[in-house]
Amino acid sequence: MNTFLDKYNDEIQSILAKYPEDQKRSAVMPLLYLAQREKMYVSEKDMGEIGEVLGLDSTEVGSIVGFYTLYYDKADGRTRIQVCTDLPCALRGADAFAAGICERLGIKLGETTPDGKVTVEGVMCLAACDKAPMFQVQNGDGLSYHENQTVESAMELIEKLK
């Protein structure tokens, strides 16, 4: 029995339809997003079941999870606040902004709040350099951008997400 396939059958079929029939493997990335939707990480079981759908070994699926930064193989905070601290944003105060958020939450960059809800991390350029300071929020529902932020506006949003 494949619980992943049972649960998301319609979505899985419409994803598979985008690629040639003999190239199912192309669907591995969208399927991983699907598996991550509810709990924000991909379990060993998910990897095995995705492998089954695509005719791949679960270790191969695991290597994809390991390679790409937006997939996770363990549970951290359910919501990730990903502040861009790359060069162009840093020139516009992103490091101080990230430190400000962390201070308010009582954690260091890269850490998760004690209640396990929010992880704050520094990430590379997100193609929004003219709207620094900015961050994206990643949770099971996907990703959203928040631009031209202050520590105040960011904290307001984070409180809502908690």
Binding site: K18, Y19, P20, Q23, K24, R25, S26, A27, V28, M29, P30, L32, Y33, L54, L56, S63, I64, F67, Y68, T69, L70, Y71, D86, L87, P88, A90, L91, R92, G93, D95, A96, M124, C125, L126, A127, A128, C129, D130, A132, Q136, G142, L143, S144, Y145
Partner: protein, 422 residues
Amino acid sequence: MEHILLRHRDIPNINQLDVYMQHGGFEAFKKVVTTMKPEEVVEEVFKSGLRGRGGAGFPTGLKWRFIDKNNSPRYVVANADESEPGTFKDREIMEGNPFQFFEGVMICAYAVGANAAYNYMRGEFWELAYVLDARIADMEKAGLLGENLFGTDFSLRIYNHLGAGAYICGEETALLESLEGKLGQPRLRPPFPPSFGLYGKPTIVNNVETLANVPKIIENGWEWYKSIGTDKSPGPKIFSLSGNVEKPGNYELPLGSTFRELIYEHGGGITGGRAIKAIMPAGASSAIIVANDKALDTPMDYEQVQNVGSLLGSASIIVMDETVSMDWLVQKTLHFFEHESCGKCTPCREGTYWMTHLVDDFVDGGAGVEKVELLYDVARQIEGKCLCALGEFSIQAVLTGIERFPDDWKEKTLKSEAPVTA
């Protein structure tokens, strides 16, 4: 001047299909499918002189000529990975003027005989991908995508595909591997994608901005296009301006506009009226330019930026003011490349690791100048030994930061200060 690419700045709601069509949208696509031979389309684009906007500046029409017509199916893949630090133009095109980009994809597909096209977007463009899925559905409903278009035997589908956070997937062969569901690691080349691309089939990979130029070339003719910009670098270009400037943002200017025009006329000059110190014209991958008068008066096109010791690349112009120290800057770029090295070849994987440690020791750890000498040597050893250009990119800021700004690497007793950013 009216925008040719960022037309949403002149025409409200052009990201809606009916508005785009009211302003001549898809006339060019209809014209090529119903009245032109594929080869004629390729020749029109070739004669326009359009060069790839993804970084390398390769002539687009020439790439299309290389498509292997003896093998099928053939594919078009739009490169919407946009991950070079300082680059944010493709995102604006896809948000503001998406149909012009898609029309470019469609004309390209007709020109090379492809019946399927993929738009590979970086995973962070998640929300945008959903919007673009809806735009594609609009085009299907309007009969612009699907079977037997305009009553001919040409059929075409477009699919969006999201990556998941890996800069290397902007490199075209790594992108194709990723789209095939594998690790995003570059292939050995040759063969090149026009003969061996997606699923081993002939494939054209073009940048989003490159493709957005194509409908306008068909609409107005190659002579019109060639009259914009410079002789060898024709056309408009979107310059992504970031860093210590008053008005960061995208600016569409003819190729050959000077750094001074971009930074001072359009960008409002340096934040707080401070002095300019350095420019990176191609994002974090750039050789750093000393921003003296000669540099500021240099026309920005694929040839002339080389005269001041750098490359135009994707035209992601990062500006640094006098408070920015190059050791701090190089630490930022090295952390980026160390994180993004795909690990396939040793000089890049090990080299970016060691360079990052050395620069950290110097900037944060109070280590002496001998670390800087070592850093420089390691960078020199990486040169020319990497499988793809990422390895080469990683040493540009290191070498030029040290060579061109020696004062920023003096022995320090205190930790380097981050630049003033207010």
